[in-house]
């Protein structure tokens, strides 16, 4: 077999980034059909909600087979046990993951278990001399390295939203149950609560204009400045993980790798440094405006308009000026 892709699911639905990865795996397996000698497959681990029907839908994204194992959800190590066995029993040459968090942990665990090479934050995969080569942006996206694999399997962990979902027709995947005895240590982490939504339930995905605030707002009350501007512009307020983790703003407003992906007409970032994990959730916005007091902040590398200055001075006046202009 050729490429094995991990498909994450939650409450009876597959993760969009996983579907992108399954599509990418199928595409690559086809491109390298001769060298890899087989179709792409997916692997799922979980409980009763992984029904035959649900698993078979992965065929639509190009998976010929779906290996299904019973196991706890939301934890990486049980999936490492399952994937190590499926890779070894079937001779998979690559293991692929979409962006997110668990993929990093599972991929890393597999690296150790199988003595395999790993590349993370991969934005593109190409075929070269019959092998896969991963492209990885490094050092704040200032360069891109081409990474090749010495042995097998090669482990590829994608960046969030790197792989497009491709619904390739009406295929249904063959579902194969695998029975894997979990390693002792894989049973020593227990999920107590999963997917807790901290803070109010706000809707930012439908907004055409987002004013996003980061640690540069200084304190929870700093968000009042962002809210006032958003109101004047007729938009909503978004946030970074740093301020959500600090309890300054609700999780539902978070943009990025473990938050939401948005592409509004205007994304105005105030006091946000522009870390990769934030960028991946908003880089497709039509217009990006950034206000930051540090002229070297990475966010200026991908903004259309950058203002170097103190947001405490700029935001209130900007709100007034927008109000005046809109009348």
């Amino acid at each position: 077999m050729s490429i094995l892709t991990y498909a994450l699911h939650y409450e009876g639905e597959f993760n969009k980034n996983s579907l992108g990865a399954v599509s990418e795996g199928a595409k690559l397996a086809e491109e390298l059909a001769e060298e890899l000698g087989g179709e792409a497959a997916a692997v799922v681990v979980g409980g009763e909600d992984l029904t035959d029907e649900l698993c078979a839908t992965l065929g639509k994204y190009g998976a010929a087979k779906v290996y299904r194992a019973k196991g706890p959800e939301g934890l990486a190590q049980p999936v490492v046990d399952v994937m190590a066995k499926v890779v070894q029993d079937n001779g998979f040459k690559y293991a692929l993951f979409g962006g997110g968090l668990l993929g990093f942990e599972i991929g890393a665990g597999l690296t150790a278990r199988l003595g395999a090479g790993v590349t993370m934050e991969v934005t593109s995969v190409k075929a070269q001399d019959g092998k896969l080569v991963a492209e990885r942006p490094i050092l704040q996206d200032s360069a891109i390295v081409d990474v090749g694999y010495v042995g097998e399997p090669g482990i590829i962990i994608g960046r969030l939203n790197a792989f497009d979902i491709a619904e390739g027709g009406d295929g249904t995947a063959e579902v194969i149950d695998v029975d894997v005895a979990l390693e002792d240590h894989s049973t020593k982490a227990v999920m107590v609560q999963r997917g807790e939504q901290r803070g109010a339930d706000v809707n930012i995905e439908d907004a055409d204009i987002l004013v996003a605030g980061g640690r540069g707002l200084g304190k929870p009350e700093g968000f009042e400045l962002a809210e006032a501007l958003a109101e004047a512009l007729g938009g909503a307020v978004a946030a970074t993980r740093a301020v959500v983790d600090a309890g300054w703003y609700p999780y539902a407003a978070q943009i990025g790798q473990t938050g939401k992906t948005v592409a509004p007409k205007l994304y105005l970032a105030a006091g946000i440094s522009g870390a990769i994990q934030h960028k991946v959730g908003m880089q497709n916005s039509e217009n990006i405006v950034a206000i930051n007091k540090d002229p070297n902040a990475p966010i200026f590398e991908f903004s259309d308009l950058g203002i170097v200055g103190d947001l405490n001075k700029i935001l209130p006046k900007l709100t007034d000026a927008v109000k005046a202009k809109k009348g």
């Binding site: 939650y10 968090l101 050092l139 081409d146 020593k188 007409k265 200055g309």
Partner: protein, 264 residues
């Protein structure tokens, strides 16, 4: 309880990092410092010690790196570690994640910790993966990006943000935890601690001292290979306004937004 904290020496934040086109490795000349993300791991260890829910006998800082990396260990000790271990050997140079994780697991094995703490990422390689690699070798439960740890007997109750919101996970010790930078505000070392750091025990180990198979580490033992380094796709750089007169700045922003019909 014995805690080992993994720390790494990285180029100082003020240094513009670049790849050396010849060696295809990071250019490590210039100022170096302790990886800022690792100071959160040391602080987490200190808070477990001071929190009283566990008896912490020892906090040991462990690094793998070139000779100069002892300075990162001194800094780790000034922040609270009791002693440190430096794995350094020519054979390790050029190790990828697979090789680094294996080598670190071997040093840790020789220390038999109850808890291994790491940072969420290194400031240079940004691979986010060493914790999970080390844990699989040590056969210990593990979590990354943890922002809250409560000790309850021989268990840790951990919280972190994952794909669908916040997860609370209980792990049984011994275990491996990578902490997120929101977990704490690292303290500043006192002058006394900085001066005293050089006098604390620092053990230097070579590959053979901890049973590392030399053919599994270094550039030779690595499973990935950098084939090329390319510039990112050219993007037209945006307009920049330096805010000097805020009224003027705001006027310019409004005009810019208006031109793009964003004030309709």
């Amino acid at each position: 309880m014995k805690i080992c904290v993994l720390v790494k020496e990285v180029p100082d934040a003020a240094v513009e990092k670049r790849m050396d086109p010849n060696s295809k490795r990071l250019d490590r000349s210039g100022e170096k410092n302790l990886n800022p993300f690792d100071t959160h791991a040391i602080e987490a260890a200190m808070q477990i010690r001071e929190g009283g829910a566990a008896d912490v006998d020892e906090i040991v800082a462990v690094t793998m790196g070139p000779e100069s990396a002892f300075r990162a260990l001194h800094k780790a000790v000034s922040l609270g570690a009791d002693r440190s271990v430096h794995l350094t050997d020519e054979a390790l140079s050029g190790s990828d994640v697979c090789a680094t994780g294996y080598a670190l697991a071997k040093v840790l094995e020789s220390e038999s910790p109850d808890l291994v703490l790491l940072g969420q990422q290194s400031d240079d390689g940004e691979c986010y993966t060493i914790g999970a690699v080390v844990a699989d070798h040590l056969k210990m439960p593990s979590l990354t990006q943890v922002i809250k740890i409560d000790v309850e007997g021989n268990k840790l109750r951990c919280e972190r943000q994952a794909e669908y919101g916040y997860d609370t996970v209980e792990i049984e010790l011994p275990g491996v935890i990578s902490v997120g930078d929101a977990i704490n505000e690292p303290r500043y070392p006192s002058l006394k601690a900085i001066m005293g750091a050089k006098k604390k025990q620092l053990d230097t180990k070579a590959v053979g001292d901890v049973g590392i198979e030399a053919d599994r580490v270094g550039a030779q033992g690595s499973q990935t290979e950098v084939l090329g380094i390319n510039p990112p796709p050219q993007k037209q750089s945006g307009e920049i306004i330096e805010d000097e007169d805020t009224n003027e700045t705001v006027e310019k922003i409004v005009a810019w937004l208006d031109e793009r019909k964003l004030l309709a």
